[in-house]
């Protein structure tokens, strides 16, 4: 371990000006968080269609509208984070296909386009020129939109994997975390949005998705926390920011408690006591906590000096 040689060499940097630390800040956190909810809601609507289509009544349009809004929040923050936002069109006219940013931007655009189409079809029902059976058309499109939601959810993990400088982010773990973030926030948003339109059984079903997503995401974070540093010195240095008195330790644990631990407990309690309020509380905490934990995981690798 090269770091251990410092005691012998007492090597201290006396002149160097590394890059100012954080380049992807909370705008990128907003991007990931909003996208999780946007695609997560589509996953949940699809599950509802498969499980209990009768309960979709009155939920198709509102769910799609909320998903559409979150996807637009995601696109807006992506755009605002660019240093040259007015050149965004370059992505469409000079695309570089090895870049997960390019692939993601194209897929997300198609995804939002399809969502708009679904909303229009539902809102214009009788006057729709495309189809007479708007609900059937919506449900058919929902299948393809759900399929597309998978890579749209995953591509951010691809960007993180392509960020070679940031050892902490590995494609396999980040892609699982992206999907879990979508199922966690999607089920939470569905519970809140569905309200009394959903039967108790269906709410508990989404509660189970919420609890299991929280459990699995928590296990992965804890695995990284405990074992992550055993194979890479850079990861040790990065994780030191969330251990002991590291600058992001408190925020990391707030995120773990609010996004995962408390929602897991509340979901379990809600099942035992059949309480809607506990399930709503679990959902709200999961959505808020997800933002916190995404932010910590985004920022800590950027604190490591690369030179």
């Amino acid at each position: 371990m090269i770091h251990e040689s410092i005691a012998a060499t007492q090597a201290v940097v006396t002149l160097d000006v590394p890059l100012p630390d954080i380049f992807w800040g909370w705008f990128v956190t907003m991007n990931m968080w909003a996208k999780s909810i946007g695609t997560g809601l589509v996953f949940m609507l699809f599950l509802l269609m498969k499980k209990n289509p009768d309960e979709m009544k009155g939920l198709r349009t509102p769910t799609l509208i909320v998903s559409f809004i979150m996807m637009n929040v995601f696109l807006l923050f992506t755009l605002a984070d660019l240093h040259q936002p007015f050149r965004m069109w370059h992505i469409f006219f000079y695309p570089h296909w090895t870049s997960a940013i390019t692939v993601g931007a194209w897929m997300a655009t198609v995804f939002v386009g399809l969502e708009s189409l679904m909303i229009v079809v539902m809102l214009r029902k009788d006057k729709c020129l495309l189809t007479k059976n708007s609900t059937g058309f919506f449900d058919k499109l929902l299948f393809w939109v759900t399929l597309l939601a998978i890579p749209v959810t995953l591509y951010t993990a691809g960007i993180m994997a392509e960020a070679t400088a940031r050892e902490l982010w590995q494609m396999s773990t980040e892609s699982v975390q992206m999907i879990l973030a979508a199922t966690l926030s999607g089920s939470a948003a569905m519970i809140l949005l569905g309200g009394s339109k959903l039967s108790d059984k269906t709410r508990q079903f989404f509660g189970a998705i919420l609890g299991l997503s929280a459990l699995m995401a928590f296990i992965i974070y804890m695995s990284e926390y405990i074992f992550g540093g055993m194979k890479s010195e850079e990861v040790i240095a990065i994780l030191s920011n969330i251990k002991g008195d590291g600058d992001y330790a408190t925020m990391f644990w707030i995120g773990q408690w609010v996004a995962y631990i408390l929602p897991m407990l509340l979901v379990a309690l809600a099942r035992v006591s059949n309480s809607s309020n506990l399930l709503n509380l679990a959902s709200m905490l999961a959505i808020v906590g997800l933002w916190v934990i995404k932010h910590v995981w985004l920022v800590i690798p950027q604190l490591l000096s690369l030179s």
Binding site: V12, L15, F23, D81, H83, T164
Partner: protein
């Protein structure tokens, strides 16, 4: 043709001539550097010594910055240089996140990414990069790695301790060091202690985007 750089750290005396020449040649704005010489002090008084390491873009064969750039603003040119088209750049900072060497910065004046280009514009006119010309001890050796008779190729053949930064990243840098220790090449081999820097209050010009 594959252009490459080699710095003989036995020769480098940390005068920063290359750094200044680069700044002037490429009009690099205040608070940003394409090339900088890192100082690391080693040992305890009175047994101390100062090491000097010029750091610039490595023009990697397998460049993560080129791969992640969504608009091909970062691209290879025929002589192997990883060049940048600042008119094309959208300022997403993907390359800043991808380069394992911290070689890319966002230019506070143009709000686009920038980095060392091995002075591609000078090379195109058969001139040496500005830093090579400025070095008083000829510690910077520049040339064609595919030509076995070039200075750089012969230097690599003649020396055993030819190293690159972070070989484990699989980037295959076209920038080599002779006479380097871990302290020179590995950022984790030295500490950054508050108050030990020769420049303590560096002001960074404001950038667009959001950096919190």
């Amino acid at each position: 043709m594959q252009l490459g750089f080699l710095v003989d750290l036995h020769l480098c005396m940390g005068c920063k001539g290359c750094e200044i020449a680069c700044k002037v040649e490429n009009e690099v704005p205040l608070s940003t550097w394409r090339l900088r010489v890192k100082y690391v002090d080693v040992g305890a008084f009175p047994e101390t010594k100062r090491t000097f390491t010029p750091l610039r873009c490595n023009h990697c064969e397998n460049a993560p910055c080129e791969r992640i750039c969504p608009v091909s603003a970062l691209h290879y040119i025929d002589n192997g240089i990883v060049n940048i088209d600042s008119e094309r750049c959208i300022g997403c900072a993907g390359c800043v996140m991808a380069c394992p060497y911290g070689a890319i910065y966002i230019d506070p004046e143009t709000q686009t990414a920038d980095k060392c280009t091995y002075c591609a514009h000078r090379v195109a006119s058969s001139m040496m990069p500005a830093c090579v010309v400025a070095c008083p001890v000829e510690a910077n050796i520049f040339g064609d790695l595919e030509d076995p008779t070039s200075n750089i190729s012969m230097y690599i053949q003649d020396h055993r301790d030819v190293q690159v930064r972070k070989p484990e990243k699989g980037t295959n840098p076209h920038h080599f060091y002779v006479g380097a220790s871990q302290v020179n090449l590995n950022p984790l081999a030295s500490e950054r202690v508050e108050g030990f820097s020769l420049f303590n209050k560096i002001t960074h010009l404001p950038l667009g985007g959001h950096h919190e």
